[in-house]
């Protein structure tokens, strides 16, 4: 399956499709909806969950010894409302493209190629939009991911994002992906005054500048931020993570008429135990944003480093 996936991803990212097949009596190999469409910057990121290595104490694939050092489910947090049905999983695929039809084509065909060998547990669509070179905004209207700029260098990525030399060989240069689906109470947020919204984050809504600073990327003086503001807590944690958030919109809550929408928090980091989990714990306990959000899904995956030509996803795990 991982070999088939690799072949498909390689082809699709170049804008190709599998052949529709020359035998009209059997189903076409490719589903066809991207014929005539460009690759649209399609990317596929693969991650392995803790249960891929050991599930219920069983080493199903004989690979437990290759489990990354920090790969475990995110522990229970205060105030969370996690639905196990849309959390976790053995394997995760993050598929991104500029065109939803191209992205879904990849999702759909990767599912087809896994039939009988893997079973779909959950699926989540999201979107992000912004002007190139500027930090995209989340559905609260605030810039999301400003602090990524702090480690925007080769050394910064080594320190913050890429997994270290103490990891199993396949994981070195890979990264841990933390995922939280965070429902945002948009209706109450939209009835909150601008000053309260800004105090909740500790940043100006329009400019993105932290309280006491002028520009978005100016140095943050934590002391000038409200004690429980989101950015203050992030700074207090003294840790960095690489944010890659998307927004989502789902359905209507039939009881309240409120829209189910929010943030697909995704962050990449070198060591979630040190960087991510303590930060999350502090946020869950203190963050002023908690009045407006609820964490409803959670997962942690280990994403291997990029492939060399001829390799397939997970090869260095399964053939080690």
């Amino acid at each position: 399956m991982l070999k088939d996936w690799t072949r498909f991803c390689d082809l699709s990212a170049k804008g190709g499709t599998m052949s529709l097949g020359d035998n009209p009596l059997v189903p076409p190999t490719d589903t066809g909806e991207t014929l005539e469409l460009p690759p649209s910057r399609l990317t596929v990121t693969l991650g392995f969950g803790p249960s891929f290595f050991i599930k219920d104490g069983v080493d199903r694939f004989g690979i437990a010894q290759t489990m990354p050092l920090h790969l475990k489910d995110i522990p229970r947090m205060a105030r969370e409302n996690i639905d196990p049905g849309i959390s976790g999983g053995d394997v995760c695929l993050q598929i991104c493209a500029d065109d939803q039809q191209v992205a879904f084509h990849a999702v759909r065909n990767l599912i087809r190629l896994s039939t009988g060998r893997a079973s779909l547990k959950w699926m989540q669509e999201g979107f992000a939009s912004g002007t190139p070179g500027k930090t995209p905004r989340n559905l609260f209207g605030f810039k999301d991911g400003t602090a990524n700029q702090l480690h925007d260098s080769a050394q910064g990525y080594d320190e913050v994002v890429w997994a270290g030399a103490d990891e199993p060989a396949w994981m070195r240069g890979g990264s841990y992906m933390a995922y939280r689906k965070i429902q945002m109470k948009l209706e109450s947020w939209d009835r909150t005054s601008l000053s309260d919204q800004e105090a909740t984050f500790g940043r100006s809504k329009v400019s993105g500048a932290a309280f006491g600073a002028k520009g978005e990327f100016d140095a943050v003086d934590a002391a000038k931020l409200p004690e429980h503001s989101h950015v203050r807590l992030a700074k207090d944690s003294k840790q960095q993570i690489h944010r890659r958030a998307y927004s989502y919109t789902d359905k209507v809550d039939p009881r309240t008429g409120n829209v189910d929408a929010g943030l697909l928090f995704i962050s990449y980091q070198r060591d979630p135990d040190r960087q991510f989990v303590p930060m999350l714990r502090m946020m869950q306990n203190k963050d002023a944003l908690n009045a407006y959000v609820s964490h409803i899904a959670s997962a942690m995956f280990a994403c291997p480093s990029g492939l060399q030509p001829g390799q397939y996803f997970g090869q260095r795990i399964l053939e080690s």
Partner: protein, 405 residues
């Protein structure tokens, strides 16, 4: 309000998480798959994982000789136990027989596909019976006798030299006979059902209903090919334009399970048996071609994967698993008949299908209680999902079989 020319980065992310299927990773070689364990028999070279090609069959044919002799011996023992009505003995031996058969069936399928189908036809019900808590000794005796006969034929079998088109013709003929047999049984069983309905006996009618449905569901696509008859016999309330014109099995099903009364059902019972007899008459005249047969196998699995797995087919009696198993069975019959042709063009596909059917049947047999499939409403979402996943795997493979045409 909205700027139409936003050139920004519109990145759309799809995230999905998957769970690995247990025992499904057999081509990765990483995990021991839940396939057959070679029994005490002499050959371990012909288990499911290592197909023996028919050209290099020195190993294969001796494995077939040894295996067949052993299986025949066990079948004779089984006949003795059936004579003595030894339920426990029959169950244990049923499992042993299945292990023996699994240890060399791949070799048989590739060398003697026609004989293989016969053995499989009788062997499977014997194995299934070993999972039941109640044994139907009469049915079992018929299968044991059939198996003994099929094995005797296998012992004297010569490799087939028929051409591809002859093999297909043979497959169609075989399947056509099956359709005729099933339709005859359907007619008899529907008669018994109708009799119970007209006698006003709700309990008896419920029991006969379940039995009759099986025969319809094994040949559903064929029945559907006779335009008007299928809706008259098998329509659900949601299918009909005018609810007052609704007839057939499901109309009476509703009376039985919802109203718990057969009042006013006589005319529906009369109509049902008349329609089923009309179907029987049509089937006698039927001339099938290979394309229809193969497409029918796929349709059966699609039926199972859409209306049965969702519990929509048997909305009142909730015997959807009975129908689903019958769909799978009907589909397997097609697979068994086309094995000779599959061997010619795609042995690997035959191997995978064989494995997928085994896993499907094994999964389904876990839902039999007191000799009957449990009600759909008793299944948990996880259990339904398990069946659905197996069905998907099977369907995916079956969708490739048309390549033999």
């Amino acid at each position: 309000m909205m700027k139409k020319t936003s050139i920004g980065i519109v990145t759309i992310a799809g995230m999905l998480a998957l769970s690995a299927c247990n025992g499904g990773s057999n081509n990765e070689g990483a995990s021991p798959s839940a396939s057959s364990s070679a029994s005490s028999s002499a050959s371990s070279s012909a288990t499911a994982a290592s197909p023996v090609s028919s050209s290099a069959s020195a190993d294969g044919s001796s494995a077939i000789q040894t295996g067949t002799a052993q299986l025949l011996d066990q079948t004779n023992q089984l006949q003795g136990l059936i004579e003595k009505k030894d339920a426990e003995g029959v169950k244990t031996l049923g499992k042993t027989i299945n292990e023996t058969w699994l240890s060399f069936e791949n070799a048989v399928r590739q060398t003697f596909p026609l004989e293989y189908t016969d053995v499989e036809k009788y062997e499977m019900p014997i194995f299934s019976a070993s999972a039941y808590d109640k044994i139907d000794f009469d049915a079992l005796k018929a299968n044991a006798d059939g198996l003994a006969g099929a094995l005797a034929k296998l012992q004297n079998a010569k490799p087939s030299t028929a051409s591809a088109s002859e093999l297909l013709k043979e497959a169609v003929k075989k399947y056509q006979q099956y359709v005729v047999d099933q339709t005859n049984k359907l007619t008899d069983q529907t008669q018994a059902f109708v009799d119970a309905v007209k006698a006003g006996n709700v309990d008896a009618a419920k029991a006969e209903y379940v039995k009759a449905r099986v025969y319809y569901e094994t040949i559903e696509p064929i029945a559907e090919s006779f335009g008007e008859l299928d809706p008259k016999i098998d329509a659900r309330l949601a299918d009909v334009d005018d609810p007052s014109a609704w007839t057939g099995f499901h109309e009476i099903e509703k009376a039985l399970w919802v109203d718990n009364s057969l009042a006013g059902q006589d005319k529906f019972a009369d109509q049902l048996i008349a329609d089923v007899k009309a179907l029987q008459a049509e089937v006698q005249k039927l001339e099938l071609d290979p394309k229809t047969v193969v497409a029918g196998a796929m349709e059966l699995l699609n039926e199972a994967a859409t209306s049965k797995i969702t519990g929509e087919e048997e909305l009142y009696s909730h015997i959807d698993l009975v129908d689903l198993a019958a769909n799978v069975d009907g589909s397997k019959t097609v697979y068994l008949s086309i094995i000779p042709a599959l061997n010619e063009s795609n042995v690997e596909l035959a191997d995978k299908l064989d494995q997928a059917f085994q896993e499907m049947e094994k999964a389904l047999s876990g839902f039999i209680k007191d000799g009957q499939y449990v009600a759909y409403t008793e299944l948990t979402t996880d259990q339904i999902r398990e069946i659905s996943d197996r069905l998907s795997a099977l369907s995916e493979l079956m969708s490739q079989t048309a390549a033999i045409l």
